[in-house]
C-alpha cells in the first residue's frame, strides 16, 4: 500500500485528503511503535521456544545419530522413527505408566493441596510460619530430595520400613523401590510430596481473592462449612483450580528427574515413562531422532490435556 502511494505522481491533493493522510500516517507510526514493543518478546519466543520446537519436530523425521553432530548429515526417514517407537513393546507399558503416574500424582497433590490451602486460610497463630515451612520441598533441588527418598525407601535399611516395623505395622519390609508394583507407588508418593507446596501456594492465592463478605453472607444464611465450600468457595475457586490442574498435568507428564534418581526407571521397567524413554533413546543409545519423536508424543499428550482444559473453561464461562 505504501509502495503504491509512492508510485503515484506528485499531484496537488485536496486539503481534506491531505489531513486524512496525516492521520493515516500517524496511525501507521503508532502501529509500528506498538510492533516494536512486541519485538523483543517475539524474538525471545522465536529463539528459545520456536526454534527448539521446530528443530525437535524436524529431528523426529531424521535419522539423527551421534555422527550427525559432527557431519551434519541427517537423512530424512519420514515416519520411521514414529513407527519404531510406537510399535516397540516398551511403548504401551510406558504410556500406561505415564497416565497412571500423572493421574495419581495430580489427585494426590491437588486434594491435600486444597485441604492445606483451606486450613491455612483460617487465621491462627504461627499460620504464616507453618505455611512458609510447607514450601520447603519446593526449595530443595530434585536430585537432593530424590536421593534422600531413595535412602529412606530402601527395603532393608531405609527409615520408612524401619518405622513401619517398629510400629509393628508389618513384620517384613515393603520393597518400596524393588517391587515391580510398589515402585510406581513410591515414585508417585515422592512426586506428590514435591508437588503439594505448589498446589497449596496457588490455591491459597485463589482463596485470598474470594471476597470475605461472601463467606459471611453464607454464614448468615445458615450455611455450614460444607455447604459454604460447595456453593461459595469451590465455584469461585474453579478458575484457579483449573489452572493449577493444567500446570500440574504439564509438569507431571514430563517428570523424569525424580524417576531417574529414585528408581532409574526400574525395577524391570516398572517406572519407565515416556519422558524417561525419551531420555534413554537420546542420551544412552544416541538415537536422537527417536528420542525427539518420543518427546513430540509427550508434547502431544500435554497439548491434548491443554485442549481439554480450554474446552472445559469455555463451557464453564458459557454456563
Amino acid at each position: 500500500m505504501r509502495s503504491g502511494s509512492r508510485r503515484t505522481p506528485d499531484r496537488p491533493a485536496p486539503p481534506r485528503a491531505d489531513s486524512a493522510r496525516t492521520v493515516a500516517r500517524a496511525r501507521l507510526r503508532e502501529r509500528v511503535v506498538h510492533g516494536m514493543f512486541l519485538l523483543p518478546a517475539l524474538a525471545y519466543l522465536l529463539l528459545f521456544f520456536g526454534y527448539p520446537v521446530v528443530k525437535n519436530v524436524v529431528m523426529s523425521f531424521q535419522q539423527y545419530t551421534a555422527a550427525t553432530f559432527y557431519t551434519g548429515s541427517a537423512p530424512f526417514v519420514g515416519l520411521r522413527n514414529y513407527a519404531k517407537i510406537l510399535s516397540s513393546d516398551l511403548f504401551g507399558p510406558a504410556l500406561l505408566t505415564t497416565v497412571l503416574f500423572t493421574v495419581a500424582s495430580l489427585l494426590g497433590q491437588f486434594v491435600p493441596g486444597l485441604a492445606l490451602a483451606l486450613f491455612f486460610h483460617r487465621k491462627f497463630p504461627l499460620g504464616g510460619l507453618l505455611r512458609s515451612l510447607l514450601l520447603l520441598p519446593w526449595l530443595l533441588p530434585l536430585v537432593v530430595s530424590g536421593t534422600t527418598w531413595r535412602w529412606m525407601l530402601d527395603t532393608d535399611s531405609g527409615v520408612v520400613n524401619r518405622a513401619l516395623r517398629d510400629l509393628h505395622l508389618l513384620s517384613s519390609g515393603v520393597p518400596w523401590l524393588t517391587g515391580t508394583s510398589q515402585a510406581l507407588v513410591s515414585v508417585i508418593l515422592v512426586n506428590i510430596w514435591v508437588g503439594i507446596p505448589f498446589n497449596t501456594a496457588l490455591l491459597y492465592g485463589g482463596l485470598q481473592d474470594i471476597p470475605a463478605h461472601l463467606h459471611e453472607a453464607a454464614k448468615l444464611d445458615g450455611a455450614g462449612p460444607l455447604t459454604t465450600f460447595r456453593h461459595v468457595t469451590w465455584p469461585l475457586l474453579r478458575p484457579v483450580a483449573g489452572v493449577v490442574l493444567l500446570l500440574g498435568v504439564v509438569y507431571t507428564v514430563k517428570v523424569f528427574d525424580i524417576i531417574l534418581v529414585v528408581t532409574g526407571g526400574g525395577p524391570a521397567g516398572a517406572t519407565e515413562t515416556l519422558a524417561t524413554r525419551s531420555y534413554e533413546l537420546s542420551f544412552e543409545q544416541f538415537e536422537f531422532g527417536r528420542g525427539a519423536a518420543m518427546g513430540n508424543v509427550l508434547v502431544l499428550v500435554s497439548l491434548a490435556f491443554a485442549l481439554v482444559h480450554l474446552r472445559a473453561n469455555r463451557r464453564a464461562l458459557n454456563a
Binding site: A43, D154, A270, Q285
Partner: protein, 418 residues
Amino acid sequence: MTSAARPSARRATILSAALALTLAATGCGGTGSASVGREVTTITALDYYTDAREHAQWSERLSACGKAAGVTVEHRSIPGASLVPTVLRQASSRTLPDLLMLDNPDLQQIAQTGALTPLDRYGIDSGGYAEGILSAGTYQGKVYGLAPTVSTVALFYNKDMLAEAGVAVPKTWDDLKKAASELTRPGRYGMAVDANPTFEGTWQFLPFLWSNGGDEKRLDTPQAAQALQLWVDLVKSGSMSKSVLNWTQADVHDQFVAGRTAMMVNGPWRISALNKLNKTEKLHWGVAPLPVRRPGQTLVTPLGGEVWTVPQNSSEARQAKAARVLACLNSSSQMLALARQYYTVPSRSTTAARYAQEVPSMAAFVQSVERSRARTGRLGVKWPKAATGIYTAVQAALTGEQTPEEALRHAQRIATDS
C-alpha cells in the same frame, strides 16, 4: 526521499539489528580466532575428573606434560554424565578441546562421528599395550585413544566376617552361593552387586557372563542363562538383597563399609577410601578375583578406564602439541605414577608387570586386566543396544518377571533391534 518510506527504513534497521542480535546469540558471528601461523602457547583439555582432589592432581599432571611440550594446558572437568552430550554439542559447533578424555566404551561412538583424529598421524606408538584397552581405543583399524591405566572389577570381602563364619574366599559359583548364604545374618547379607537398570549394572554382570562363555553378540545362550541364574539364586535364597536392583556401585560400597554385606563386586577405585577405613574403623578387607562357574574356567572381566584423544581441530599445530601431551600422559613413568595414585593398572604389559612386583596387593587386578575385554571390542558402536538388553534382562530376571531364559531372549531382541 518520501516521508512514507521512513518507517519502513526504520523497520529495516530494527530488523537487521534483531538479526544481528540473533546471530550473535547463536554464535554465527564468525569465529576467526583460530590462528594457524602463530605459535601455539596454550591448549585446552577436557575430562570428567570433577572430584576436587582428583581434578587438582590431573591439572598438575597435565601442566607438567604441557611444560615438556612447551604449552600451558587449560584444564576443565565436567560431570561424567554430561561429558558425551557436551562433546557432541562441541562437535557440532566445532569447539572441541584440543585434548579430550573419554570413558573407553564411548570412544568408538565419538570416533564414528569423525570428530577425532587417528593417533598414528602424530607418530604415537601404540605398541606394547594390552589387547583389551587397545581394542577399546580402536575404530575401524585405527587407534584414536590411549589410556595410561586401566581397571576392572573384583571380589572384595570382609576378612573378619569370613573368619568368623569359617568361610574361605570363594573360587567357584557354588562356593560363592554357599559362602554368601553362610555369611548372611539378620541385618546383613552375604553378597552385594550393582544390578541397577543402567550401563553400570551391565558392567557388573559382564564378568559372570563372559567367564562362562557368554557373548554379547548372542545373549540367549545357556551360558548366559547360567550366569543370570546365579544372580537370581543369590537374591532368591536371601543371600543378596533385592535392593541390588536399585543400587549403584557407590551404594554397594556403602553397604560393604557399613557392614551390611560381607562381600561385594567393585573396582580398585574404592581402595583408597577402604584403606582409610582400614585404619580408623578397623574394617579389614581383602580382594580376590571374581569366582568362575567351575574350576579351570578363565576369568574374563570388563575393562574400565579412560582414554585420551586428540579431536579434529582447525589448527594442526595445536593438534601436534596436544598429541605430545597425550604421549607424555602415556609414558611409562606417568603410567606408574597414576597407577599408584588411583590403584589402577598400567596399560602397557611390561609396565604392568613391573608394577605388580612393586605393589603385590594389586597383583589380582594386574592378572585380571591382562585377560579383560573391552565392552565395545566385539560390537563397536552397537554396544549401547546390547548393554541395554543386558541390564533389562538382569532386572526382569531378578524381579521374577521373567525366567533368565525368557529375559535373555528378550535382551537379544533389544540388542539386535535396528
